[in-house]
């Protein structure tokens, strides 16, 4: 039944292909609307009924996002915060993941369970004390105000993923290194790490996506125009009366393209991360 042979036009038009098409349209149509609107003439966006395509085609919204609004600044801020946090997560996560996966420590199990629980904790539970802490440190409206919490919130998942990869590497390889007299850090760097590269990709792309899309903490800690990240910037576009959807969508397309390309390149690792137990939605 599962591999029933089909002949004639049934080979192409059947339940599976129609359902696939419906699924694809379900995802594509809203995306099409986002992109099409971003290329419409800024003045024709409020027309009713809405026109199906971007005619006349216009790049006005894009120049407006960068010139009329400060989207360039938001983009730069997002890049800095995301890259720093991801690098920190990978560095600290590799060390911790290696230790928790490989070294004979007591309390490893409890540590992992607690880490897993922290990874599902809502950020709003820590918002007020963190805000006070940042204020006392004079960190409100700074890059470190986001880099530190992003690192902390993404570390549990990275440790989890990396530990699982370290567990799967044969012990003999490492012992060879140790017998050769290499220091533990040297062993990790040149023997274990290359083996765990897929794990690093997975942890990295998840951390990158989470930082790129985070909204609540960015809204609370970095509200000044110079330190806003993309999500906050897009949410605060426009005045009280008219929401400039054309500009918002042009900025959105620019914001979604880098992450889309990264996810596409690393899709194998994203899927392996999604399916490796600790899942993040």
């Amino acid at each position: 039944m599962r591999n029933r042979k089909r002949t004639g036009w049934h080979r192409y038009v059947n339940g599976v292909s129609i359902s696939t098409l419906v699924t694809a349209l379900f995802i594509i149509v809203p995306l099409y609307w986002l992109i099409a609107t971003s290329f419409k003439n800024p003045n024709s966006i409020g027309s009713s009924p809405p026109s199906l395509g971007p005619t006349p085609f216009s790049g006005g919204n894009y120049s407006n996002a960068f010139v009329g609004y400060d989207f360039g600044i938001y983009f730069r801020n997002s890049v800095i915060v995301t890259i720093c946090a991801t690098a920190l997560v990978l560095a600290l996560g590799t060390l911790a993941g290696y230790a928790l996966g490989r070294l004979p420590m007591r309390g490893k199990f409890t540590t992992m369970v607690i880490l897993l629980m922290i990874s599902v904790f809502p950020a709003v539970a820590v918002l007020a004390p963190l805000y006070l802490l940042m204020r006392n440190l004079g960190w409100l409206n700074s890059y470190q105000a986001l880099i530190l919490p992003y690192t902390a919130f993404n570390l549990p998942f990275a440790i989890w993923i990396l530990r699982n990869y370290f567990l799967g590497i044969p012990k003999e390889m490492e012992e060879t290194g140790r017998i050769d007299g290499a220091s533990p850090l040297r062993t990790i760097w040149s023997i274990v790490l290359p083996q765990a590269l897929p794990g690093l990709f997975t942890a990295g792309i998840f951390c990158f996506t989470a930082c790129w899309t985070e909204f609540l903490m960015a809204l609370t800690f970095n509200s000044s125009n110079n330190f806003r990240t993309i999500p906050v910037g897009i949410a605060e576009f426009g005045g009280n009366f008219q929401v400039p959807y054309g500009t918002i969508f042009a900025a959105s397309v620019v914001a979604v393209v880098p992450i889309g390309i990264l996810v596409f390149i690393f899709r194998k690792f994203v899927i392996s991360g999604l399916t490796s137990g600790a899942v993040k939605g």
């Binding site: 009713s48 599902v120 539970a125 006070l132 006392n136 530190l148 929401v243 959807y245 969508f249």
Partner: protein, 317 residues
């Protein structure tokens, strides 16, 4: 000759390395904690310390002063306020049924998509790549996009409903349509994620079970209900648990799309806490909302502790 003569040396050297297992073990354990310490310190500084401080704040009269806040004595009044405020109950109720409905719908549609994609001969890779787009979408953008679609004067949803003769409801201005609108936006973003997880579970199922079912003459529906679904249960249970626990933090989508409105119809616990803390600057009650939310998540964790431990133990042994 040389090879032969080196053998006895190795035999002497080998026992020496493993000769003092306890000392070696202790040294490695110390090194392990040294490796883990930086990560744990960062996590503790940003999560555990603030959670404790949140609890302390929620049991205090917090007064806003010129350059900060002061805690003026122990009190239950914040929680008292909470229990008797309809706002908190409404937010809790909204968060709970919003979670329940979206997770169930996402699970049903996601499983259907996974079942279809499993039978797809060509192009499955492309479909997977397509499914990842909503997953990686910034929630704020998702909210703006659907707010535009639902817009009362030039939104396409309004136009379609009109053309179908269903009139033109003010979607985001009326409670029930606004809630449904939010759910649709959520379902669009999260269903693909569920589909990917279920698909991965499906692909890993043993094929011989199906052959046996087919030989017994089981129908497709029967096979799905009695063979596929029970085998998929662990995968689905884990996904549902994480989705439900995360849903307690629901903030971005309603905050941007409806601002918690109309009225307080779409005000989640996280929005209530955020507004109390940063719009009204009532830090005591705000901390109480945040703490009670954290407590609910903690209870959820403890109730499903078995799942967490199984997850860790699975790979550990």
């Amino acid at each position: 000759m040389t090879a032969l003569s080196s053998t006895p040396e190795q035999m002497v050297a080998e026992p020496k390395l493993v000769g003092r297992p306890d000392v070696n073990r202790q040294r490695l354990a110390r090194m392990g904690w040294a490796f883990t310490a930086p990560a744990l310190l960062v996590i503790a500084a940003v999560t555990i310390f603030p959670i404790v401080y949140s609890v302390v704040m929620s049991f205090n009269n917090v007064t806003v002063t010129g350059n900060g806040f002061s805690l003026d004595g122990f009190t239950f009044s914040n929680y008292n306020l909470l229990i008797h405020a309809s706002l908190w109950r409404d937010a809790l109720y909204f968060t709970l049924y919003y979670t329940l409905i979206t997770v169930v719908v996402e699970l049903v549609i996601g499983t259907c998509i996974a079942l279809v994609l499993e039978r797809l001969a060509a192009g499955r890779g492309w479909m997977m790549a397509l499914l990842l787009i909503p997953w990686s979408m910034i929630t704020v953008i998702n909210a703006e996009l659907w707010a535009y679609i639902y817009n009362g004067t030039y939104g396409v949803a309004d136009y379609i409903l009109n053309a179908l003769g269903l009139g033109s409801p003010v979607i985001l201005g009326t409670p029930t349509p606004a809630i449904i609108g939010l759910m649709i936006a959520d379902i669009w973003k999260t269903t693909p994620f569920v589909a990917i997880i279920v698909l991965a579970g499906l692909v890993m199922l043993p094929g011989d079970v199906y052959e046996a079912a087919e030989m017994d003459g089981a129908s497709g529906w029967y096979t799905f209900w009695h063979v596929t679904l029970p085998l998929l249960r662990p995968t689905i249970a884990l996904a549902v648990m994480f989705r439900v626990l995360q849903a307690f933090g629901l903030f971005d989508l309603p905050y941007v799309m409806t601002g918690g409105g109309p009225g307080t119809a779409t005000q989640s616990l996280a929005i209530l806490a955020y507004n109390a803390l940063f719009k009204n600057l009532s830090f005591g009650p705000g901390a109480a909302v945040a703490t009670s939310t954290a407590l609910l998540v903690l209870l959820g964790c403890l109730a499903t502790l078995r799942v967490f431990r199984a997850q860790v133990g699975q790979e550990g042994s």
